[in-house]
């Protein structure tokens, strides 16, 4: 209990400190007129209070409040990202299980799995949109494309992490491959799987936002970013506010994975990463 209070206090103080540093930077650069690395004014770096105030103002002429618009967009993007995350994690896990059981498949497929990640997502996204038509499904596939890779690589390592002795113990029970998979390999891989899921959770949000751009989807955060980008020179605070909400969504995804990990993974305290 006391531990939790202390932690919340630390997190709160950190946020306040970062906000203070931001405003301090703003103040020093504007009052001295320094222009390196760039000139600071209320357009390049709007005040924090301007950004937060913008959330409570209408998003545009005769439009609902910005916060309402952004939360709707975030919910829209969250659904795409969640679908992409689930698809990617499932594909990544199944792929790792297949690879761990076949050296041949590992040697044949792993280079292509790695190569798939060297192709920029911006090059893949338009193709997916052409194949699947513009819609949340194609956005989910694009998010999945970013999600599956860390899951495959880490889970593969995790599935191989049990000691040779543990495998001999299972052999002494004449355990089937299936039993070895579910009673030894998978439980041993969970810490690896979850560290991959933490990376993938945030990547799936980024994937969904980027996926919305070539799909021409307007309802999500990607659409909002494109839109507010065009008005940056007049209302920079709207884009900043959108970024804050997007970051918040990524953090929410990350925290959901952390919470699931706490529930599922049982480990010696000193082994917890």
């Amino acid at each position: 209990m006391r531990h939790g209070v202390l932690r919340a206090l630390t997190i709160g103080l950190t946020v306040v400190a970062i906000a203070a540093l931001y405003e301090l930077y703003h103040w020093i650069w504007t009052s001295t007129g320094w222009s390196w690395p760039f000139k600071v004014d209320n357009i390049t770096l709007p005040h924090l209070w301007t950004i937060f105030k913008a959330l409570g103002d209408p998003a545009g002429y005769q439009q609902p409040l910005l916060i309402t618009v952004l939360l709707k967009a975030a919910w829209f993007t969250a659904k795409e990202a969640l679908a992409g995350f689930a698809i990617g994690a499932a594909i990544g896990f199944v792929l790792a299980v297949a690879l761990v059981h076949s050296r041949l498949a590992q040697r044949a497929l792993l280079p292509y799995i790695v190569a798939s990640q060297t192709i920029p997502i911006l090059a893949v996204a338009p193709m997916v949109v052409v194949w699947l038509k513009s819609g949340w499904q194609s956005v989910a596939v694009i998010a999945a494309y970013l999600t599956f890779f860390p899951v495959t690589i880490n889970t593969l390592r995790g599935l191989e992490s049990a000691s040779p002795r543990a495998h001999e113990l299972m052999r002494s029970y004449a355990a089937s491959r299936w039993s070895v998979l579910w009673k030894l390999r998978v439980p041993a891989s969970l810490p690896y799987l979850f560290s991959a899921l933490k990376v993938s959770a945030t990547a799936s949000v980024v994937g969904a936002i980027i996926g919305e751009l070539p799909s021409g989807i307007q309802g999500g955060l990607g659409g909002a970013i494109l839109n507010f980008n065009q008005y940056y020179s007049i209302q920079p605070q709207n884009l900043w506010a959108t970024n804050l909400i997007a970051a918040g969504l990524g953090i929410a995804f990350f925290l959901a994975v952390v919470a699931a990990e706490k529930l599922i993974v049982r480990r010696a305290p000193e082994n917890v990463a």
Binding site: E168, K183, L190, R266, R267
Partner: protein
């Protein structure tokens, strides 16, 4: 029928062309407690692993309960205990002990009552819901023994199970192990590099020589049962320890079990 029947067993590892075991003949009768002792590199652990079909023999035959070793393994004829307790961190003590029972398809209620019985046997009642990392090394080893015995195998294979424990814990576990052995009337093959441990526990001590591993001699330990802490102070105990030690000297090992000639080779 002997529990273990080994004839003309040879084991070579293709890597580096090492002959680990050569021409081993050994019969183990029901209810025996056999220790395998010898300098490092004498193949005692390999012999245990061949009996358990964790590695196949190169030549010769190994019968367990009259069956080829792979068949015996498939029939769950033996329980295995390693030097490292190999407990699964993600399982509670109870679930670790019940692991082989899950593999045998026992239902939950039957598993639960057997696990409780086993935890009583190794004096860990009340620790069922703990996780392995919350236990001391000696307690972890007792969980491993409970796990190996949970499905009542006729043969218990132990590969230096107490090697990593301190002297006091080891001596206490020796006595506990003998009690369990007597109560369950099981057969034990026990690998160790401690002469006094081998003599204290065993009905027979098999002394092995290194490179290639052979049986250098077998010492009958006819000390009275049940053995207690007093046994360790019995003059006949020292006689047997000396007999084993002499045999080990003869095969080029000092009393700590390492090979004297190793540095020179």
């Amino acid at each position: 029928m002997p529990v273990v029947e080994i004839s003309a067993l040879t084991k070579t590892f293709p890597k580096g062309n090492v002959t680990a075991l050569k021409g081993i003949d050994l019969q183990i009768e029901p209810g025996e407690f056999i220790s395998l002792i010898g300098p490092s590199g004498c193949g005692k652990s390999t012999l245990l692993r061949v009996i358990g079909d964790l590695t196949p023999p190169t030549e010769g035959t190994v019968l367990v309960n009259g069956k080829p070793a792979p068949k015996a393994r498939a029939d769950h004829d033996y329980g295995m205990v390693f030097q490292d307790s190999v407990l699964f961190d993600w399982r509670t003590v109870s679930k670790n002990v019940g692991l082989p029972l899950e593999m045998l398809g026992w239902d939950r209620a039957k598993r639960k009552s057997r696990v409780e019985e086993m935890l009583r046997l190794v004096e860990l009642q009340g620790f069922g819901d703990h996780h392995p990392w919350q236990l001391s090394g000696g307690m972890q080893m007792r969980v491993a023994i409970a796990r190996a015995l949970s499905f009542e195998p006729s043969l218990l294979l132990m590969d230096e199970p107490f090697g990593a424990l301190d002297e006091m814990t080891r001596e206490r576990l020796n006595i506990e192990l003998l009690e369990i052995w007597r109560r369950l009337q099981s057969t034990v093959v026990f690998v160790t590099h401690s002469i006094s441990e081998a003599v204290f526990l065993s009905t027979r001590v098999v002394v092995m020589s290194p490179r290639p591993g052979r049986v250098a001699g077998i010492v009958d330990i006819d000390l009275p049962q049940p053995r207690t802490n007093d046994t360790r102070e019995d003059p006949r105990f020292f006689e047997k320890v000396t007999e084993v030690r002499e045999l080990l000297r003869g095969v080029g090992a000092d009393e700590h079990g390492s090979v004297l000639a190793e540095a020179g080779s």
